[in-house]
């Protein structure tokens, strides 16, 4: 429980500081274009890593292949069909649940 609250407070304070930093620190200056461009690429790099680790990661590390992969495949199809976020997540969960129920 303590670890949870430390995480919540630390992430909250850090995020609030990051969001406020731009307007508080900008003194008519901008970041060098390369630094700015690199930061813009942080989100896709991290999100892709999260897809991989959440779909394939085992508890405690390593790989674990299970129904999550079927859910991710169904989510990919839903995304290609331009389904909204809620439907994409629902399809993934329903597919994984169905695979677990019938496998």
């Amino acid at each position: 429980m303590t670890a949870v609250w430390i995480t919540v407070v630390a992430v909250g304070l850090a995020t609030m500081a990051i969001k406020a930093a731009g307007t508080l620190l900008l003194g008519g200056r901008t970041l060098p274009p390369r630094a700015q461009s690199a930061l813009e690429h942080l989100a896709p790099a991290l999100l892709a890593a999260l897809v991989v680790t959440q779909a394939l990661g085992g508890s405690g590390g390593g790989f674990a292949i299970d129904a999550r992969l079927a859910g991710l495949a169904a989510a990919t199809v839903a995304l290609l069909l331009r389904a909204p976020l809620l439907l994409v997540i629902t399809v993934a969960a329903a597919t994984a649940a169905a695979v677990r129920a019938f496998a």
Partner: protein, 252 residues
Amino acid sequence: MSRRQRAPVAPGYRDGVRAALPIGIAAFAFGVSFGVLARSAGMGRLAPVVMSLTTFAGSAQFAAASILAAGGGMATAVAAAVLLNLRYGPMGLSAATSLAGPWWLRALTAQLMVDESWAIAQRDEGRIDRHLLVGAGLLLLVGWVGGTAVGAVAGNLVADPASLGLDAAFPALFLALLAGQLAPRETQRTESRTGSERPRVVSRGASWVKERSRLLAAVGGALIALALMPVAGPGIPIIAASVACLIGARRS
């Protein structure tokens, strides 16, 4: 009235609320799933709600909760969440000149900046509209925090998250958010040759290059994570994958 004003009437807070309404419904549903998943990750009922109110950033919260659930440790969870939220640094810089008032009001307004409110508030020439940002941000905050509370409280009605496939919701969610990152940015309409001065405003050609390099960053991040997963603990592959963002530092 300024001649340079394009719209006959400047947008107000209500316009921001209205523009964010469809995505606010999704934020509510998304908040419910965060509440449920955070509860199942052992975060209790209050902590997820406090986190939604203070952090107010979906992917970072899901990342932190899932790393805690996977036994990755709080340092890893905080680091991954903070790395995910570092994008608010440059977004905050781009919004800086559009915010008004004393320092504490500007800092407070910046808290309403999330991907969706920031995107809705985009105006021409890389500026953002403060009223749209506040209106959209407030609606998304209410939906997100309210959804989290509903999910966290109703979480104990849910039997087994895995049997409902809720663990598959995590990668699906991140894939959907990633697809949003890789999609063409329709808000970048304005042609400009001064890309170094206003990095958010790029020509169509430069925009295409940026989309491709975002895709390269995503592929790089996935490969780094895959390579490290067998040898490193949970969360570490995600942090290491951030190195892939350096793809964006190439000469463009």
